[in-house]
Amino acid sequence: MKKIFMKLLNRILPSCQEVSHLTSQAMDESLSWRKNLELRMHLRICTWCRRNSEQIRQMRTLSHKQAAAQNELATLGSEARERIAKILDQNNQK
């Protein structure tokens, strides 16, 4: 019974391939309510697509965490600072 039900659901819902496109798209923009519903329902019943979704989202979260930490340390080096200040002054006098 469950098998038949799943088969039926698979008919109605988008395929894994389509879902992986929607998963990525949903990370950047909001989907139409219909697409969103289809995506959510598919993810509910499909372990593989759920993993795929969780993993690429976690990749982004971790990446951003690391980048934020590095960006905080991103300051103009003293050498570049002096060089730029000097060139700026030279051109300013002209």
Binding site: S20, R60, A67
Partner: protein
């Protein structure tokens, strides 16, 4: 309209610009470029352009905002130049390196995961600094092994979290194009991490 004119900002002495805005400009550039010397060069170009273009400062925005605006144009120019190089050396690589080989292509199960391509279970403990470092190291390796354009797209959007539309502007690609490229980049990188990291060191 005295109130208006008193609110108009005026430019400070260019001599002080590096001290006042150097770090902010550099930080901004670095988010887009992930490269120290290129970012420094663009800060220099920006300030020199600003020096020559002082007359174009309308006073309706702050000095910082005005400088960032100039820097943005420099970043776009930079990507335009380097983007061309990428296109010339491997025009078709983006599309050819990609065939959707993860899914069953025909029959009633078309579009389902192929058995051996199903994503394996893995999750990184976000609070474990060692796992975070490992993730980062592997991700960097993976980024070097995919198409440079895809790596750029991933870096801007998922690592630096730059707005979708901004990424389109900087790389001069359409939103649809970017959507496809991000899909490919995320897919390739997830697969790369799964194969190289999870497959080798980690056991679940």
């Amino acid at each position: 309209m005295d109130i208006h004119s008193s609110k108009q900002s005026q430019l400070s002495n260019p001599h002080d610009w590096v001290d006042k805005h150097g770090d902010a400009l550099y930080g901004y550039a670095f988010r887009y470029l992930s490269d120290r010397s290129v970012s420094e060069d663009l800060v220099q170009e920006t300030l020199l352009a600003a020096l020559k273009g002082q007359a174009s400062f309308s006073g309706s925005s702050s000095e910082r905002t005005w400088l960032i605006g100039i820097l943005k144009n420099k970043i776009v120019d930079h990507y335009r130049k380097t983007g061309k190089e990428v296109k010339l050396t491997n025009p078709e690589q983006v599309s050819s390196s990609f065939g959707d080989t993860d899914y069953i292509s025909t029959g009633s199960d078309a579009g389902s995961w192929l058995p051996h391509r199903k994503p394996k279970a893995w999750a990184v403990d976000s609070n474990d600094p060692v796992e975070q470092q490992q993730f980062w190291a592997y991700l960097h390796n993976c980024l070097e092994n995919i198409d440079t354009k895809l790596a750029k797209v991933y870096t801007l959007r998922d690592i630096q979290e730059i707005e979708y539309q901004e990424v389109c502007n900087v790389l001069a690609v359409t939103p649809t194009n970017l959507r496809v490229m991000l899909y490919r980049a995320r897919k390739l990188l997830r697969r790369c991490l799964e194969t190289n990291w999870i497959g080798s060191e980690r056991t679940f």
